[in-house]
């Protein structure tokens, strides 16, 4: 697989070995390959330490892989770029700017005309349900609202790919479910390619059109699924889907898979 001829996002045989400053090294990723068509939503699951975030940082261009490369639409990724937007867990908003200025950050940096940007921000504020909050400082918003701003800020830049690093991880369970609906809605309306990293099996199943489960030491792809739930989530009620038989079956299967991995890791220690 060479990514140079592909449309979409290609992770081509990426390995990552971190050399520690004090000597020694950590083998974080081993021969990870992915091929995402434009508009696909991939969720990435795995026990802690399996290299999920490392993989995302490589795709984002914050880290250079030891071996292999990442390609987007045939172009090799060499650094961060506006074509690959990021949504972080929390605390990545600019607290010195109000909601509008946060959302318009990308267009303003690119020097887009103010009128056009303003209209775009208005539109996005409505989409994420923050129509009345544009002039509020971001630190006055709740955690869920802040993540809506983070989503809107990313969308305002019209990236090809949206990379999400545990975007809903710090939210309470109810807000989290609501935000999952929003992510699905935005995915459908914008048709963006999305890579979503999460600790929650349920979230990965519900949102991921495709799902990979990673295994640790070294981080690698353990199993890959194609799932119907995200497609169904666009029309059916989320509660119904999450309570359905095949959803629960998949959830238990993946949970026990991750449990086994965790136990393998802990096996060496006295626990």
């Amino acid at each position: 697989m060479t990514g140079a001829n592909h449309n979409g996002l290609v992770v081509d045989d990426v390995s990552m070995v971190f050399t520690l400053p004090g000597g020694g090294s950590v083998h974080a990723l081993n021969n990870v390959s992915l091929d995402l068509k434009s508009g696909e939503l991939l969720s990435v699951l795995g026990p802690s330490g399996c290299g999920k975030t490392t993989l995302l940082n490589i795709i984002a261009g914050f880290l250079a892989p030891t071996v292999g490369a990442v390609f987007l639409n045939g172009k090799q990724v060499v650094g961060p770029d506006a074509e690959r937007g990021m949504v972080f867990q929390q605390g990545a908003l600019f607290e010195w700017l109000n909601v509008r200025k946060n959302i318009s950050f990308g267009p303003r940096m690119a020097g887009k005309p103010a009128k056009e940007t303003n209209e775009k921000v208005d539109h996005l504020l409505n989409i994420v349900g923050l129509g009345d909050f544009g002039d509020k400082p971001v630190y006055q918003l709740s955690g869920g609202m802040q993540q809506r701003v983070a989503l809107a800020r990313c969308l305002a830049n019209e990236p090809d790919v949206i990379l999400m690093d545990e975007p809903l991880g710090a939210l309470d369970a109810l807000t989290r479910e609501k935000m999952q609906g929003l992510v699905l809605k935005l995915w459908k309306e914008t048709g963006k390619t999305i890579v979503l990293i999460t600790h929650s099996v349920e979230e990965a199943l519900f949102l991921g059109e495709r799902l990979i489960v990673m295994a640790p030491r070294p981080g690698r792809i353990h199993k890959e699924y194609n799932l119907p739930f995200a497609e169904r989530g666009l029309t059916d009620s989320p509660r119904e889907i999450k309570a359905s038989h095949d959803f629960i079956e998949k959830r238990e299967e993946i949970l026990s898979m991750i449990w086994e991995m965790e136990e393998e890791i802990m096996g060496g220690a006295d626990t």
Partner: protein, 301 residues
């Protein structure tokens, strides 16, 4: 007045306790309604109230001690002046000034020196601190100087400054500049180093250039620390200017009390000390107000 909820659907089983008056709470003689509900108070810092009544007691006792000890002749006027002497002296100082210079001018010149020192210290220190926080070369170049100068009290530099620059205005402002400079360098550097990497990453992913990241992320992110630096520098410079004026100066509050001492004008000395305290307090309060106004996002990142 009771704390009973106004909702008619809620019935209190126990009889509500009598609420202490607002005056009692203001004086710190009674806890506020929230603290009154706590059973664990010792060790809970928020359960300690202002104790304002005792502050009044302290102030009144001190003034009383002053009045009695001077009027009864327990202390000689040369060690501590009487109320009347201080009152008379204030009128005279306001009226005629001190040594042909108006009282406000003595205060003004000291404040002016502090503001100049802090201004130039910030002007040079902030860019240097930024450079040290952002570039290994700059950090390497300036680290030995900053780390060496940091623990030296500015007052220890007075003899050298006098040797180099004499005792004129330039010498004083240079001393205050040095006092502010290292505080500002360290504040700016730690403001830059304190940026959360996810904010920097977010900005790059939104298409920002290096310069845009510096201007739109690193700089605003460092502002709270820079402001703390300015506040600290103001305080240190105020202390330093008074001490510098004690050593050698024609004008300024510090020189005023030093010269007054030579003429055994204890009342002027005491008035000077009170002015120094009030101005220092005012500077701190103004800086806090400015901070709340200019950097409302402080600590909310």
């Amino acid at each position: 007045m009771t704390d009973q909820p106004n909702d008619p659907n809620i019935k209190l089983v126990a009889a509500p306790q009598e609420t202490p008056s607002a005056l009692m709470m203001w004086l710190g003689m009674a806890d506020n309604s929230f603290t009154r509900q706590k059973t664990v108070k010792f060790g809970d810092p928020s359960a300690v109230n202002s104790g304002r009544l005792w502050s009044f007691v302290t102030v009144i006792a001190l003034l009383l001690l002053w009045w009695v000890s001077t009027s009864q002749g327990w202390v000689k006027p040369i060690y501590w002046p009487s109320f009347e002497a201080v009152g008379k002296r204030i009128t005279k100082l306001l009226d005629q000034g001190f040594r042909n210079t108006a009282l406000w001018e003595h205060v003004f010149i000291s404040v002016y020196r502090v503001l100049s020192g802090v201004f130039f210290g910030a002007l040079v220190g902030i860019p240097l601190g930024f450079a040290m926080g952002l570039s290994s070369t700059a950090r390497g170049l300036f680290d030995p100087i900053v780390e060496f100068m940091r623990p030296i009290p500015p007052l220890a530099l007075i003899p050298l400054i006098i040797l180099w620059l004499g005792i004129d205005e330039t010498a004083k402002i240079t001393l205050l500049f040095l006092a502010a400079l290292f505080i500002m360098i360290i504040a700016a550097r730690s403001g830059v180093s304190g940026v959360k990497i996810s904010k920097v990453h977010a900005a790059y992913s939104l298409g920002a250039s290096k310069f845009q990241v510096l201007k739109n992320v690193i700089l605003p992110n460092a502002l709270p620390e820079i402001f703390t630096g300015i506040r600290t520098a103001m305080g240190v410079c105020w202390g330093t200017v008074v001490a510098a004026e004690l050593v050698a100066a024609e004008k300024g509050v510090g020189s005023m009390i030093m010269i007054a001492k030579n003429f055994l004008q204890t009342d002027t000395v005491v008035i000077g000390i009170i002015i120094i305290g009030l101005i220092g307090y005012a500077i701190e309060m103004i800086m806090r107000l400015l901070e709340r106004w200019l950097i409302p996002w402080r600590g909310k990142g």
